[in-house]
Symmetry: C2
Amino acid sequence: MSDVLADLPTFLNDSEPWFRSALRTLVEQPTVSPGMEDDAAILAGVEVARGVIADSGAEVEVVPSGGTPALIARFAHPQPKARVVIYNHYDVQPADASKWAQDDPFRFEVREDAEREFLYLGRGTTDDKGPALCGLRAASWVAKHDLPIEIICLWETEEEIGSPNLGDVLEARKELLSGDCVIVSDTIWPSAAQPAISTGLRGGMFATARLRTGNKETHSGLTGGGARNPLRELAALAAAIERAGFWRLDVREPSAEEIESYGRSGFDIDYFRAAHDLEKLATDVPIEMMLNLWARPTFEVHGLAGGYQGKGVKSTVPPEAELKFSFRLVPDQTPERLWERLSAFVHNFNPDVELTRLGSFVPYRGAIEGPVHAAIVHGMREGFGKQPALVREGGSIGAVPMMAQLLGVPVHFLPLSLPEHGYHAPNERFDWKQAKGGIAAFVHTFAKLVG
Amino acid sequence: MSDVLADLPTFLNDSEPWFRSALRTLVEQPTVSPGMEDDAAILAGVEVARGVIADSGAEVEVVPSGGTPALIARFAHPQPKARVVIYNHYDVQPADASKWAQDDPFRFEVREDAEREFLYLGRGTTDDKGPALCGLRAASWVAKHDLPIEIICLWETEEEIGSPNLGDVLEARKELLSGDCVIVSDTIWPSAAQPAISTGLRGGMFATARLRTGNKETHSGLTGGGARNPLRELAALAAAIERAGFWRLDVREPSAEEIESYGRSGFDIDYFRAAHDLEKLATDVPIEMMLNLWARPTFEVHGLAGGYQGKGVKSTVPPEAELKFSFRLVPDQTPERLWERLSAFVHNFNPDVELTRLGSFVPYRGAIEGPVHAAIVHGMREGFGKQPALVREGGSIGAVPMMAQLLGVPVHFLPLSLPEHGYHAPNERFDWKQAKGGIAAFVHTFAKLVG
C-alpha cells in the first residue's frame, strides 16, 4: 500500500489550483435552498456541477426528485472490495450581503494566510461545497490508482431545508447507494488544533405558538387589564416550557468513556466563544459545555413576532402574536413523543394557543466500532497528523437518519470544517490546510478499507 | 338663571355648522406630537388655531415652552365670581393611512348617522380637538351672556408625548391659570348609553430591558446549549415580572361606595369587547373588569425585539434582544418606588440585563365632593339628560397630576369621548350628539358654578 501512496504528497500539493478553481466555479453558483430565493439558480448550478464532476473522471447522473434534483458521481471499479457513498450537499443558506465584508457573498475570493495557507471566502465554501470537493478529489485519486473500491459521491440540493425529497433519490438509486457505508462530510471539529470525528447528531423540532385575542391594536391605558396581551401570555408560555421537564425526558446519558473522550477533544471554551463571537455563555466549565452542546436537549426561542420592534416603547396591546421556537433532541428522544408532550403541555397551560409543528429531525448516534470507523480514524490521523478525538455534533442533518434507515447502512462522519469557518454565518470561509488534510484523510481511509 | 339659559337650545342647534367648520380646520392641520413627524406642522397649526379661537371672541396668546408652544384663550370678565381653566390638547397621535378607511386621516370627513346625527372622521377628532371646541364654544356662550365667570382655555401641544414642557407654560402663566379649578376634557365614558365622570387616572411607567450575549447571530445547532439566548432569557424575565408581587404594592383599594358607583356606570363587557374589537378578555365578570381597567395596576409587554419576525422559524440564536414593557399605576403607587423595586428585581433575576426607564406618569385621584364637582355633575345631567356615573380612567394624562401640583388647584374631568370613537386608533371619530351635549354640559356647569 505504501507504494500506491508514494505520490500522494505531490498530488496534494498539485491539487490546490484545481481545488481553488473548482470551488470558485461551485461557489459562484448561488444555489440557495429551494423555496427561498431562485430555484432556477439551483438547476443552473446542477449543470455547472455536472461539468466539474465529469472533469474528475466520474460518470455523472442527475437524479430527479419531487423537489430539486441530486447529483450522483460514480467512480466504478470492475471488482470492488468495498463500496462507499460520500454524502455532501450542494445547496446553501441565503446570504445577507449587508453583513458580509465582501461586496457579494457569491463572488468567490481567495486570501493568503500564514496559518491556513489560503482562505477561500464566499457562501457555501465550508457548508458544504469545499468538503464535497475534498471527497471528489480523493475519489478521483483512488480511481486513477485503480484501488479496488467503488466510490459514489451523492450531492443533494435540499439539505438546508431538511432534505424533504431525498427519500425519492434514495429509493430511485437504492441498489447503487446501498454499499458498505455512507460517509458524511458536513460537520465541524470543536477546535482547529484537534482533528475530531463526529459520532452523533442532535435532532430538532421546530414549531410556532400563535395567540389571537383581538382584531386590532388597542391602547394599553384603555384596555390594559381587560384585554389579554398575547405577547405577555406567549412570553409566559416560553418561560413555562423552559422550566418544564417534558422535553428533558428519554435522554440516554453518554457513557463514562464517551465523556472522557470529549475531554480529549481539544474543545476550548475561549476558542468556542471567539469563533461564534459570543460574550456570555451558559457555563464556563468545559465538560458541562460539551455536554450542553452535544448530549443534552435544548429549548430555544427564535422570535416573538407581533409586537413593536422600533425604538423605545409603543404603548399598545397587539391583537395577536407568534412565538417561534425549537428544541434540539438527543438520543433516544423522538420528535413524535416530544410533539405529544408539547401539545399536552401547551393545551394545559393556555388552551387558546394554536400550536403548529414545522419540521423535525430525529437525533442520530453512529457506530464507534467496526472496520469503517477504524479506517476513518486511521485516515484522519494520517491526513492531519494527530489521533482524532470522538465528539458529537450539536446540529441536525435530516439526511443522516434518513440514509441510515432507507439504505440500511451505517452512516459515519469525516468532518473537515472549523468553528471559525462560519456555518450559516456572514463571511463564511474554508481553507487549504483543511482541504489538503481532508483529501489526504479520505485517500488514507479508502486505502485502509481495501488494504 | 333660567332666563339666561332660555336661548341655549337654539344656540346649540345653530352651533353645528360652526362646530363642523372649526373641527375641519383643526383636524386638517396634521399636528402630530413633536419629535415624531414634522414639528413645523405643529407651529403652522398653532397659527390656524389662533384664528379659530380669536373668532370665538377670546384674547389669544401663544405661550412658548422648551418644546412646542401652548395656546391660551382668555374670556375675561370684569368681576368674575369664579375662574376656571379648561384643559385640552392640540397634538395628535401619528396615523398610518394604510389602516384607515379614508384615504387621508388628516382629510376631515362628515357622515350622516341615524343615532349620532353626524359623525366627524379624522385623526384628532375625539382626541382631543372635538372636545376642545366644545369647551371653547361653551366659553363663547358664557362670554356673550356676560356670566360673571372668567374662562381660560389651555391647549397644549405635547400631551401625547407626556407633556414634557407643560411645566414651562404653567410657570410662565401661573397667576392666570391658578383659578378655582382645572376641568380636563380628554377622557372617555365607559358606554355611549351612560354619561360618566372620571374621578381618577392610572399612571404609567415605560421601560426597556436589553440583553446582549454575543455579537452576531449564531446557528442554534452549533451553539444551542452553550450560547445564552437573549430572547429566551427576556421571555423568562417577562414571565417572572408578571408573577412577581412588587408592582402590586401600595395600591389603595377603592371604597365600597366607589365600587358600587362603578356598577351603575353602564359599563358593558360586550360593548367594551366590540368597541375595542377584542375576542378574548381577561375576565367576563363586569365588576372585575372595571376594577382591572380602572383601579388595578397592570404589566404589559409591548414587544420583544431582536428575533426573527418573518414566516415560519429561523433556527438562529440572536446576539441581543430588547423587551419593551410598561406598567399602569394606580393610587397610591408612585413611579419612583416602582422603579426602585423593578431595578432590584431585575438585577436579582438576571444581572446582565440592562434596564432603561423611558417615561412615567403618576396616577391621579380627583375630588368627588365640593362645588366644582357638584356643578359638573349638574352640567352633565342637564347636557345629556341622565345622572352621570362616577368612574375612573384606565389611561394616563401626564398633564393632570402636573397641573394639580404646579397650580395648586383641583383638577376635575368632563369627559365627552366614547369607546367607539377610537382613541389612538385608525378611523378615529367624534360625533355631533356628544358635541352638542358637551357644549350644553359645559354651559350648565358654568351657570351652576356662579348661579
